[in-house]
Amino acid sequence: MGLLTTGLVAQDAGGGFDPLLPGLIVLLPFLGFVANGILALVAGTRGAARVRAGNEASETADNTKRTLTQTLPTWIGPGVMLAAFILTLLNFVGLLGVELTEPVIRSYWTWMATGTLTVEAALQLDQLSLIMMMVVTGVGFLIHVFSVGYMKEDPGYARYFAYLNLFVFFMLTLVMGANFPMMFVGWEGVGLCSYLLIGFWFQDREKADAGKKAFIVNRIGDFGLLMAMFMLFALFGTLDYVAIFEAAPEVMAYGGFAATAIALFLLLGAIGKSAQVPLYVWLPDAMAGPTPVSALIHAATMVTAGVYLVARASVLFALAPVGAAAVATVGAVTALFAATIALQQYDIKKVLAYSTVSQLGFMFMAVGVGAYAAGVFHLMTHAFFKALLFLGAGAVIHSMHHALHATHKDWDAQDMRNMGGLRRFMPVTWITMWAATLAIAGVWPFAGFFSKDEIIWFVGTSAPASALYVVLWAMAIATALLTAFYMTRLMVMTFHGSNRTGEGERGHLHEAPLSMTVPLGILAVLSVVGGWVNVPGSIRESIFGGFGLLPMSDWLDRWMEPVTASAQAIRLEQMGAYASTAPVGGGHVVWGAIATGLALAVVLVGARLVASREIRPATESEAPATGIRGLLYNKWYVDEFYDRFIVKPVVGLSRFCWRWIDQVLIDGTVNAVGTVSRGLGWFGSLFQTGQINTYAFIVTLGALALLGVLIF
């Protein structure tokens, strides 16, 4: 590593760690955005010219003759991601085996210096940001490659890659920023890209509206984040991570008002970005965007920003036990709530969206009970298997869309009731998605088993602190079982049973191209082994670790230690150590056995249950409207509730402000001023007769007045 960096970067003391061109990692996606953006502008101008010329080029016509605007993004988009990933990997390898207790900060220029506030455009590299960077660039690269296959027939191909690269740029800014404002830039930037990509097919009113919904709901969270930043600046006089987290234990009292308020405001920000109850409603709608976008932004990276925020500000949350408990509670409620909705959805992407919300709830639970490493661990494994699930769903939709398009059938390509039996047509997708399903269900030895059950374990062991955690623990277990069930339902409805697509369409179903299946394969492997990086010793030595034979370690726990050490110290000092056994007794191995056994049982029973029921295509079946199934199908009517009690009143208030305050009061005042002026002008113009006599008379009066003033 030293050999590589010599001469490239100035040496500085970083505990032996020497970051390799961190600025370039951020810059590369941005350059990709600029290049693709220019291509998109060119393509847009040409497309507009074609439309004006009258021969609207069809998708198939474009295939035969590929222009530069279609070939270049294929290389630029994934190319910059690969370069960024390699650079990140080099940095990652460089940090391995180095005892880094203080983050390495690279300051590039002073962004703003106003009064007492100085904000540097600085990047921070430590264990947490490197893990996030690995996920963002690694999974991001795979999804970029997948997108090449998925989006290549879209007229907005270059624009798509421009947005995607811009998103990665902002996401890297978010996780690498060395202070709150830098993170906020990334935070808002990814929100913007999310908006742009959800509404990517903006000609469709519904999709454009979904983008707006995401953007607006996120504003509520951003308000919280801004408030937290203001309070932090008021208390600490700086917004740098290092300075704040070092000073926090002295400046803020444990459980005091300031700490609690800041933690709760930060939580509000995290709730908005990570789609937790009650602000989760935008994420299911966000599925209007292209499926790889759902995989990258709304499953693997952006929505985990809230988890990252809590983990990053772990010291602040450790100082505010109420805030931390709120984080865990929000997470548990969200996890269970979203999982129930996922049970009755028929849109394959909606199921995955609610599943994502639910899994994010798990991460919140973890960081809420102080298991930061477990939270980040689940973030990482979730990025693998949920990205895989989304990409698999993307491949299925791609295939379905082709089949339905070939015969001009106006069925919904995303409705699982129209699928069935796809395993014969798409074996690679089928197998890889089963790997992800078993991973999310928590079956040994897939990644989810290690990450999710670790979270449940930590929530359970928090029970001695408060009865609240017993409830949360029960909710977590229930969610885990529901997860296993709805994912099995998804798999069975999509891939098993008889095919329901239709006779004519069946022949057009096909496996996805290589650019899509290769990322699926890689992610499938990661979904299996991704969990092996954080396995407690007792598990490793048991049958679950192959009695020490499988290449497992508790590496991630140790890796994250420097980042969360101060937070853990505060927790230990204030709360004391928790029990090392789960509430009902038993150690890691017993719980592992129960968990994987239950998960497997649910998968098997669920598969039989779903398979035994007769499923008919969407057009022939009617939506469940009554009972618990109707309630779940309609998502607990939360959107309707928000519409009735928040949107409508706000609209009404706005209408009132428009009709009465704006139109009557303000416009009235302005108009009245105008009318009075007109009136005065009219009155004045009465003296302007154009008759010399009148003017002479007025001059005489003026002379009289002047004389009067002079004399009296």
């Binding site: 006599n693 008379f697 005489t700 009066l701 002379a703 009289l704 004389l707 009067g708 004399i711």
Partner: protein
Amino acid sequence: MVDILFFVFAATAVGGALGVVLQKNPVSSLLFMVGTLASLAGLFVLMEAHFLAAIQVIVYAGAIMVLFLFVIMLLNLGHDYRDDLKTGLGMFTAFAAAGALAGVLVSQLRGVEETPLAQHFPGPDALDQLLAEQGIIGAIAHPLFTDYVVAFELVGILLLVALVGAIVIAKRRV
């Protein structure tokens, strides 16, 4: 003698002025105006402004009034014009304003000789002496061609401009 002449001239001047204002026939008005100007010339003589009295008769009563008369004749306006005088409210307001103005001016000017400022006037004797030394022409010409020579030249130019302007404005459009 001087006082009697003053009041005689004053009476004819005011009477002429009223004739100017109240006569409906423009030519009559104009002739009353000539009378007023002649009376004023007489007053100028009484006030030892002999040169100005002569100018008044020659330039004003002679040239300018003839110009007016010429224009009236040119435009064929030498007959009674019924609508010329305003009536009713217009007349009333005009008289009210004029009456107020007259009241103010007369009340202020009546006692002008008793004002402190008037005590510092050199008085008629100084002018008598000056006239005895230089004669009226010399007395006026001296300041006119020394202190006010620039204004004098400018007035010459003004007259030239007015001459050209009058011709340009009044001539028929070609």
